[in-house]
Symmetry: C2
Subunit: 271 residues, 2 copies
């Protein structure tokens, strides 16, 4: 365990030996104030990052964590609360607090905002087109924080919706993943996997996506992509460029999707 900074004048203190490190008597120049619960949160994030608790598993109870960190339960609570609202942890009353995973039905489509125009919830079929290791193109390397020419894995796949008894392609996804963490990712592995792709990344490669940023535009379908999506060349398609991040805000996936929005739409909640 690590020392916690104590920002107080320590009337009762025996909380570690970090007394003079920060707070009103701090020697540092500028911010130098971090609430205890933020420090606890940082430690918990470190634990997640280090794999101390794996997705789906429960973390120690609030009381146990409070004892471990020598703080009150309420302080641990506030740290966990924030992590829960950020979807890193999931609280379950009576059972415990669990590391979030992409396995659950509820979070199945947390990152896929495409919805059928009618409310139908039919899941999309996957069809893998390609999976190969390559040197990351300059732009990809830049966005993923790789050195020029470093290894990357490229994946291309289709998502298809049931239409009557036929299947219509709706999404064409191109993914780039950093080669190092995704060493053993092969077409076979992807092909065999049943379940969300991000769940595979968690289970097999210890990469947990917790956040992403998307840039959405309207584009005209290029010839090759139009063919794959079975739409006329030049049709309007939604281009969705996604950069996904793991715990340390490290980018670990670049994805470019082309969505056919004839019978689907990209749904977004503003607040």
């Amino acid at each position: 365990m690590q020392e916690l900074l104590d920002n107080r004048d320590m009337p009762d203190s025996d909380r570690g030996a970090a007394a003079a490190a920060s707070g009103s008597a701090a020697t540092a120049s500028t911010p130098s104030f971090s609430p205890l619960y933020q420090q606890i949160k940082a430690l918990l994030v470190q634990g997640l990052q280090a794999g101390e608790w794996l997705p789906g598993q429960s973390i120690p109870s609030e009381i146990e964590l409070a004892a471990r960190f020598r703080v009150s339960q309420g302080t641990v609570r506030k740290a966990i609360d924030e992590m829960a609202t950020e979807n890193m942890l999931v609280r379950r009353q009576g059972k415990g607090t669990f590391v979030a995973t992409h396995a659950e039905q509820s979070t199945q489509y947390r990152f896929l905002r495409l919805m059928p125009d009618d409310g139908s919830a039919a899941p999309l079929q996957r069809h893998l087109l390609e999976c190969r290791r390559m040197r990351a193109p300059a732009e990809v390397a830049r966005l993923l924080g790789l050195k020029a020419g470093e290894a990357a894995v490229q994946v291309r796949r289709l998502l298809l919706a049931a239409e009557g008894r036929a299947l219509r392609p709706v999404v064409l996804d191109d993914l780039w993943l950093p080669g190092t963490p995704f060493k053993g990712l092969t077409a076979e592995r992807l092909q065999a996997w049943r379940g969300p792709m991000y769940r595979l990344f968690e289970a097999e490669f210890s990469v947990h996506m917790i956040r992403a940023v998307e840039k959405v535009r309207a584009v005209a379908a290029p010839a090759e992509e139009a063919g794959l999506l079975q739409v006329p060349v030049g049709s309007p398609l939604l281009s969705v460029e996604r950069l996904s991040f793991t715990y340390g805000d490290r980018p670990v996936e670049l994805r470019r999707g082309l969505y056919d929005t004839a019978a689907h739409h990209y749904r977004n909640e503003l607040s």
Copy 2:
């Protein structure tokens, strides 16, 4: 002030006379448990809805609210916390808690997700094309919860970005507003207004948007719209259909935007 439900066995109770209304001894069949802080929150929302505190103004201090509702400060705190994360209130340490408004620079573009591809933050110019009262079309009436044929206000406008020393149209917005709350909305009023449109709605019509849902698609530019946006007919455009809500989750605006995403993109954060 209103009575609060007490879900406890009331060891100390003199908190109103609502003792038997709910809780473990409830006669109601199903949910029948609502934490105190949720009740407080509901009361505060009612206050906002009733205009007891106007956007930009401060609400009473936590201590004062705690006294008024006869609960502890911590309980009020939790209610306010939730409303703050939902962007209904804004907390300012040392100053107070304020009703959120669309006036502030920070929330200027809370609902407009369109960003220039380069980071430039040049604000968009507005150009009003139309503002007229009419009978709401069936589809509009349905979405806004109006009776068939009820009055509505339609607004059409362009947003233009500076490009060199020229202006390029980037957004074509079509809005429908319910006629009743927006009684006095005219082209002149809109024309004269400096500032965000939602700020006008707050200030002049007491309509505060707090939430919205958007459906985004790629479409081919129709002739008329292509002309207004100065793009070739059939160009891919982003179609953004937005339904905005006020306090009681009442829909009060339907907006259909066409975005030219040649030099801009729709930005979205996933978590």
